[in-house]
């Protein structure tokens, strides 16, 4: 199949329609695209050095030279936001992947084999879920020390039980399907059943929820950065930027406002995308209303 035909097929499939079904989704797809673009190319697009001070030019308002103005030591806010995009967005992405790689196999095994494996796994998962939101991440940072890397692991551990529960539930339902039964009857072993019949059917729901988890991970990464438990200054991580702007909130709001707008737009666009994907791909919610 040629590239063009392949693209035609993607465009015709309902999956692609998700991204263009209405103007809200279209807008969020575009913002998501911008965010991904910023995360990849942001550092090289920054017009100024993101950590170069200019003490003669502090708290300057928006101008042609510094479109978002400058912060308390004269650093260009636009450059800092561009250069920091890959930190906040990348940390959240790696965190979600950590959670996925730990959680999905655990959920598959737990749901497929059941029994004591399942009991132990779910006890652990429930215990992690019993931890108040955000505090598990804070505790992991307490153990590993404040850094961007520890934030990734912390958020990954936080998101892991959600994947376990999600995939376990899906596996329990898929296990009873006729085609799985048929595969078992024809003598396929467990590994082959899991990889060929159950995992492929879990993928869509994992993608859908990953979008939502990613939005939460962005907020959480920014929160840890804000508390000073993440990337350390002068690193232009968006949460850490907000934290240093906070000290001068009454002098200039822009060093809080601009990073905040970028955190919000990133999280909002992924949340919207997650909602739209869920409408189309999650059969359970498809017939009902979305939350």
């Amino acid at each position: 199949m040629g590239m063009r035909a392949r693209l035609e097929r993607i465009r015709e499939s309902p999956f692609w329609e998700v991204f263009t079904q209405n103007w809200v989704t279209k807008a969020s797809t575009i913002i998501t695209g911008i965010m991904i673009f910023l995360a990849i190319f942001g550092s090289s697009m920054a017009p100024h050095d993101p950590i170069k001070m200019d003490l003669g030019n502090t708290f300057s308002p928006s101008s042609v030279k510094n479109p978002f103005g400058t912060d308390e030591i004269g650093r260009c806010l636009l450059s800092r936001i561009f250069a920091g995009a890959h930190l906040t967005l990348g940390a959240a992405l790696i965190a979600v992947f950590i959670g996925m790689f730990l959680g999905v196999p655990t959920g598959l095994l737990s749901g497929y084999f059941g029994g004591p494996t399942d009991t132990v796994t779910m006890t652990f998962a429930d215990m992690l879920l019993a931890f108040p939101y955000f505090l598990l991440a804070v505790l992991v940072v307490a153990i590993m020390g404040p850094s961007l890397e520890s934030n990734m692991i912390a958020i990954g551990i936080w998101v892991c039980p959600y994947y376990v529960r999600l995939v376990r539930g899906a596996t329990l339902a898929l296990k009873e399907r006729e085609y799985v039964e048929a595969a078992r009857m024809s003598g396929e072993n467990s590994a082959s059943i899991i990889f060929r019949y159950i995992l492929p059917n879990c993928i869509s729901i994992v993608i859908v929820w990953s979008t939502t988890y990613y939005a939460r991970a962005i907020i959480m990464a920014a929160g840890l950065g804000f508390l000073g438990l993440g990337a350390q200054p002068p690193t232009p991580e968006w949460g850490a930027m907000t934290a240093s702007g906070r000290l001068y909130i009454f002098k200039s709001i822009s060093s809080i406002l601009f990073p905040a707008i970028f955190i919000l737009s990133a999280a909002l666009s992924f949340n919207l995308l997650g909602d739209s994907l869920r409408d189309v791909l999650d059969p359970k919610l498809q017939k009902g209303e979305r939350a």
């Binding site: 006890t123 429930d126 215990m127 019993a130 931890f131 108040p132 939101y133 955000f134 505090l135 804070v138 505790l139 940072v141 307490a142 153990i143 020390g145 404040p146 939005a215 907020i219 920014a222 929160g223 804000f226 508390l227 000073g228 438990l229 949460g239 907000t242 906070r246 909130i249 009454f250 709001i253 809080i256 905040a260 955190i263 919000l264 999280a267 909002l268 949340n271 919207l272 909602d275 009902g288 209303e289 979305r290 939350a291």
Partner: protein, 306 residues
């Protein structure tokens, strides 16, 4: 009923013990010697050893673990803070008081907004009002709580000057942190309350009521009564979000609660204090959810029969 109660209580206690065990041993994994950190580089070996004995750090980890439970259960003692040298409980208790004030007022605001807006949104489903509520809720869950805090602080504290921007001197200081934290929690509550109301509204008995000619108000009241169990679960779940959010809110408004306390403890590598704070968070979260579990039979008698 008694069996139900015992089962729930037992499970909560088991989870709590498991959790504290995990926290204890994982905090032991923290690299670096806490004594040499506390004393600085100039300390002699004797002084360091004396401090180690004082904190019980010279004993094997397993003994330390048993001592931790013994001291906690017999004397309510959480050890001595490594950074200040004062008993953990002495600083923890006032912090807990402040956090309790903040979170309970925020919870009140959140439940009020969350339940009202959620039910209203379900009642006017897919009309412009519903779209407006849902969009605000979506923006609310996408906005980090500290951004909401900072915006409130800037707008109502600084620009308009209606409320103090930091500290915990009086009731006026409570307004901004409680309201902003409450709105943050409310926005995720709205979505869930709306979903559970819609679940109930799609039941067949509601259709029957409609066919019998009940008015919209009467039907919504019946639906609400039936969704109440789910809604109380939702409120309980949000309590975790509230505790987590309070860490950030307290930092923004310099509210001397446990959130600020735990962040300071982490930055100072002060493990007994971290342990104490975690214990508080876990106990209070479980306690609230236990209370909600226990209220089910009263809200919904079908629970006991199940």
């Amino acid at each position: 009923m008694l069996v139900y109660l015992a089962k729930r209580l037992g499970r909560a206690l088991f989870t709590l013990i498991l959790l504290m065990t995990m926290v204890f041993f994982s905090l032991k994994l923290v690299p670096g010697d806490p004594v040499s950190v506390a004393l600085g580089p100039g300390a002699t070996a004797e002084v360091a050893q004396a401090l180690r004995v004082k904190y019980g750090l010279d004993k094997p980890v397993l003994i330390q673990y048993l001592m931790f439970w013994k001291k906690l259960l017999l004397y309510g003692d959480l050890g001595v803070s490594w950074s200040s040298g004062i008993e953990v409980t002495r600083n923890l208790v006032p912090a807990i008081k402040h956090t309790a004030i903040l979170t309970s007022s925020a919870m009140l605001i959140a439940s009020l907004i969350g339940i009202l807006a959620g039910v209203a949104s379900a009642a006017v489903r897919n009309r412009p009002e519903d779209v407006a509520i849902r969009s605000s809720a979506l923006i609310g869950i996408s906005m980090p709580v500290f951004v909401l805090n900072l915006l409130g602080q800037y707008l109502f504290g600084y620009k308009l000057g209606w409320f103090p921007t930091s500290g915990a001197a009086g009731l006026a200081n409570l307004v901004l942190p409680a309201v902003t934290l409450g709105i943050f929690v409310a926005s995720s509550m709205v979505r869930m309350v709306r979903a559970s109301m819609l679940d109930v509204l799609s039941e067949e008995y509601i259709t029957t009521y409609r066919a019998e000619g009940f008015g919209k108000g009467a039907i919504m009241r019946k639906a609400f009564r039936n969704a109440l169990r789910d809604i109380s679960t939702i409120v309980g779940l949000q309590f975790g979000m509230l505790l987590g959010g309070s860490v950030l809110t307290e930092t923004v408004f310099s509210w001397p609660g446990i959130g600020q306390y735990v962040v300071q403890a982490i930055l100072w590598n002060d493990m007994p204090s971290v342990q104490g704070a975690v214990l508080f968070f876990a106990v209070s979260y479980m306690f609230i959810n236990l209370l909600i579990d226990l209220s089910y039979p009263f809200i919904d008698p079908r629970v006991i029969r199940a």
